[in-house]
Symmetry: D2
């Protein structure tokens, strides 16, 4: 069902778990890691970066996305997200909105700390999305 | 199916359309209005407020929510959202995330400029939401 | 030096302290209140409203601003900000950016829980601001 | 006056101008680039990444910061910011707030498209900053 092989999924999981290590989260103490795979097979890691003004926080998923975009990538296959617990962490609505800009077919893996996971597709996590096609100015 | 009567829905629609008038949207020129009904029947209107730094923008829905919260309301029944076009405008992911903090059963009306509408429930617009129950610090 | 009389300053302080009561801040447990005075003498109160996704948080100052804008106000004289401590709380950079959209001469009162305060002007808190005049699209 | 040599400043300027090329800014059509130098001499490039929901936009400066943080860097010397015009573009308040988390002595270069520039220090761009030391929970 996934466009990724099992080995590619396992690699993405490994990299999302590793990405937690650089999390800057002194306020929530909730470390999150993400790993984003581009259509051409490159992987970008991201972690959450918080701020004393809570609204300034940037999630792990968006960190991975801006890294990739700033190096010339605009098309993505899949992202894995993990934290330090077994709770199938899913992207927040802010990140879903951010991801939606780059395509609705993105596969998303909610990864437990023990590597078990659930799989979803962005279109199902943000139905009736408000996207680029809704903005007359584009 | 809705917890609101037809008259209450029509009133919410009227107020969301009226709320567009105070939209501050010089950058997108995309006026949005929202009207939020609390469980005890009070209605708060909101519009989008943009900023030269685009990331500073606050949507109409969140404007309505913070108005209500800052006056002591934490439980809501429904929100209507409208713009200047017939495009069934739906809340962005940022707003869905913001709303989710206050309950998953919120009814959401996507309102066209001609008053026709679609109805949805927040739980269906943000499945597998990352919410208060996911934060260990709470 | 202030455009406000002492009585007007005291009233703004009182309302900013009162506004803390509706703060929704289960994550930081840091209650903030704000009171914003329009040029025509109306006062809007705001509190911080947080979210499980920390980046979704909206500060007390921005709450007060969107309330006022959504009711037709675009010109402001002064804002007072307070928390539960004696620490001369000042607006975060996000809020300074948001305020800057509506004029650089805004007076800002950093209010202690014991009502003592410092006064500043937005232009001094956000020098070389990036504002509407910097955006070619406006 | 700068902790950087003239050659290092010129390199940072070059990289900030180059970083504009991957800007994703279909809404503002305002391309911004940034280059951030860590204390140990590594440079991270960032561009602005916008969203159909304007509030989802992430500026070039924050892109550069989260890239660096997600690769283990927490201490920085300087950042250069540029756009396509000669207007001494300065970081918005959101970015100043984000930067402040990592130290007040950061040098900031406002770079014109023709490579001329102004220099500032973060402490002067965000006086009375609300920072980590103001949050009791840290
Ligand atoms: Zn997120
Ligand atoms: Zn929204
Ligand atoms: Zn703030
Ligand atoms: Zn910025």
């Amino acid at each position: 069902m996934s466009a990724l092989t099992n080995d590619q999924i396992e690699e993405l999981i490994t990299q999302s778990l590793e990405a937690r290590n650089f999390s800057y989260s002194p306020y929530s103490k909730f470390r999150v890691g993400a790993a984003l795979r581009t259509v051409d097979g490159k992987i970008y890691q991201g972690c959450n970066v918080e701020n004393a003004s809570y609204g300034g926080a940037i999630c792990a998923e968006r960190t991975a996305f801006v890294k990739a975009v700033s190096e010339g990538h605009l098309r993505f296959l899949a992202i894995a997200v993990s934290c330090d617990f077994n709770q199938y962490i899913s992207p927040c609505g802010i990140c879903r909105q951010f991801m939606n800009e780059f395509g609705k077919n993105l596969e998303i893996f909610f990864v437990n700390a023990d590597r078990t996971y659930k799989r979803a597709v962005l279109a199902d996590l943000l139905p009736y999305a408000f996207g680029p096609e809704d903005m007359p100015s584009k």
